[in-house]
């Protein structure tokens, strides 16, 4: 763990009053390594270690702590600042609330749409699912199977219709059947596919969703920064959902994405079943990243 590594690095600095620049530089090498191993993007690691350095150099080492523990405390505080607190799913004052789900291919969007529908149902809301992925083979069927399992209506116009038309149809269905939420499942796409990003911009422009949630795979590596930056620049994301957190990926992508978008992680996916959606707990995430 980082704590153990810092203890080892600081073995020779027993009983010093303040953290010197040399001590801190040594500690930051360990922090940098730990964060890179946890898949935090290099640019974010640099910004983070610079912030820690600023707070740590000359900092008093409390009587009750070792120098390593002092650094860890500063690292944790700085991480808490970065990761932020838990954030709620927003609801619109004008029904139905529209949630737009976006992200890279295979990140877990369709499954997460199902999970969100269940979450909303359990919270007393009445969701409609919109099958806006007209590209992937059997994507519409996949959402329909989930909708059937949840007894949530799925609106589709087949795969020859425009996603904007499908989304509008879903909203009309919600309005006419007194449902108060619409979840738009969109096709996975690359952030560098300009044409596909335009499709999302059009969807946003016409539907004015209350939330635009980026669904990102917890095992994403350095690319997390590029992905998040582009999606945020194009759409102004409102939140993040980190999937496949039931694996053993450290999840540093969470830090990267949060850092470049400023958006809160609202949920984490912890399994393939529709119940497997949890609220995001910052300290659990921090412990996981720091090992």
């Amino acid at each position: 763990t980082l704590t153990e590594r810092l203890q080892a690095a600081f073995k020779k600095l027993r009983g010093k009053g303040k953290l010197s620049e040399a001590d801190v530089t040594e500690a930051l090498r360990e922090v940098r390594m730990a964060l890179l191993e946890a898949d935090v993007s290099l640019k974010v690691v640099k910004e983070f270690t610079a912030a820690v350095k600023e707070k740590a150099v000359g900092a008093e080492v409390l009587e009750s702590l070792t120098p390593a523990q002092s650094v860890i405390r500063i690292v944790r505080d700085e991480m808490n600042l970065l990761v932020g607190g838990p954030a709620k799913l927003q609801k619109s004052s004008k029904s139905p609330t529209i949630y737009m789900i976006v992200g890279l291919q295979g990140s877990g969007k369709t499954t997460t749409c199902g999970k969100l529908a269940l979450f909303l149902k359990d919270s007393g809301e009445e969701p409609v699912l919109a099958a806006c992925d007209i590209y992937r083979p059997a994507a519409i069927k996949q959402l329909q199977v989930l909708g059937k399992e949840l007894e949530v209506p799925v609106f589709s116009l087949g795969d020859k219709s425009d996603p904007v038309q499908i989304a509008k149809g879903a909203v009309q269905l919600a309005e006419s059947s007194k449902k108060n939420a619409v979840i738009l499942d969109t096709a996975g796409r690359l952030h560098i596919d300009a044409q596909m990003m335009v499709e999302l911009k059009q969807l946003k422009a016409v539907l004015a969703p209350t939330e635009i949630l980026l669904v990102a795979d917890a095992m994403t590596g350095q690319d997390a920064v590029k992905i998040a930056e582009q999606f945020h620049q194009d759409l102004a994301l409102t939140g993040i959902i980190l999937t496949k957190m039931d694996g053993d990926a450290r999840g540093g992508a969470a830090l990267s994405i949060r850092s470049v978008t400023g958006c809160p992680v609202k949920f984490v996916g912890v399994g393939e079943k529709l119940k497997a959606l949890e609220l995001f707990y910052p300290d659990r995430m921090i412990s996981r990243i720091l090992g």
């Binding site: 390594m33 890179l36 191993e37 946890a38 898949d39 993007s41 290099l42 890279l104 291919q105 295979g106 990140s107 877990g108 590209y135 992937r136 083979p137 059997a138 994507a139 069927k141 996949q142 329909q144 199977v145 989930l146 399992e149 690359l190 952030h191 560098i192 795979d217 095992m219 994403t220 590596g221 350095q222 690319d223 590029k226 992905i227 496949k244 039931d246 694996g247 053993d248 990926a249 450290r250 540093g252 992508a253 393939e272």
Partner: protein, 278 residues
């Protein structure tokens, strides 16, 4: 950027950063750069252009200079198994491979052994239809081993050259699911003892260091014989494959570069090394 002027310390630092941002991982990046430094002083390299050339050939050696061809059966049916974590691109890659082998004159059968995920069978059926190959399926929720077994049996009986089995995505941390995969393999071996002739691990190139653990666990469980690195049409470089090559020696056989049927290429280490170094 790295090929102009003299060799300086900052060049090695820049190189390490490029490797890190390519998901090479800190241990491997530091190792490769320190090796290069030793090489540079031993060979008395003076200009960065020669240095980068030297580095590129080191990478190519590590990635596997000679392409390892697909391993077919000596005679009769060849069986290929697709494995990997959720969403990595298994089903899509299977569709691409079906088209690829068919274009090479092979008769291909597909086995829809993902009996768990919503519309997984439907998804594979679309690919089978698209590429004009047969697909063997059971009902959703049925035993994946049974589907694999029936696919191999039917393919052999009908004179197919290749049977390819799609499996459900599974995290390597789920022991029971890894056991299920072992069982699928065993069941096919009842029909053809040497099956599967290839077990392809499908890795998403946007994955970070976790890809190394995935490779380790899948290899231990079902003896992965080849890696297919998908989604290289994005901005991710897949640098973690260097650590995988170093520790596990698994050959990379294909790469996925898009969502269409023809978006599959034979792995080319030189091109991969070029792209890694940006």
């Amino acid at each position: 950027l790295l090929r102009k002027g003299d060799i300086t310390d900052s060049l090695f630092e820049n190189l390490e950063e490029i490797l890190l941002e390519a998901d090479t991982g800190i241990q491997t990046a530091e190792f490769l750069v320190s090796q290069l430094k030793k090489d540079a002083s031993e060979k008395r390299l003076k200009d960065s252009w020669k240095l980068m050339d030297c580095f590129k050939s080191q990478l190519i050696k590590l990635l596997g200079e000679t392409p390892v061809p697909v391993h077919f059966a000596e005679k009769g049916l060849s069986v290929f198994l697709m494995v990997g974590v959720n969403g990595s691109g298994k089903t899509t890659t299977l569709g691409k491979l079906a088209a690829y082998f068919k274009a090479h004159g092979k008769k291909v059968f597909l086995g829809a052994a993902d009996t768990f995920r919503a519309a997984a069978i439907d998804q594979l059926e679309v690919w089978a239809h698209r590429t004009g190959v047969e697909v063997i399926k059971h009902r959703e929720g049925s035993d994946p081993g049974a589907v694999a077994y029936d696919t191999v049996k039917a393919a052999a009986a009908r004179g197919a050259d290749i049977a390819m089995i799609d499996t459900a995505g599974r995290l390597h941390t789920k022991t029971n699911l890894m056991e299920e995969l072992k069982k699928i393999r065993k069941v096919m071996q009842k029909e053809i003892p040497e099956a599967p002739h290839e077990t392809f691990l499908i890795l998403d190139s946007t994955t970070g260091q976790n890809a190394l653990m995935q490779s380790k666990i899948f290899k231990e469980a079902v003896d992965v014989t080849g890696i297919i690195l998908t989604k290289l049409d994005g901005t991710a470089k897949g640098g973690v494959i260097l650590a995988i090559r170093q520790e596990l020696k698994i050959p990379i056989k294909f790469i996925g570069i898009g969502e269409k049927t023809d978006a599959l290429q034979i792995f080319d280490p030189a091109r991969f090394a070029e792209s890694l170094l940006g």
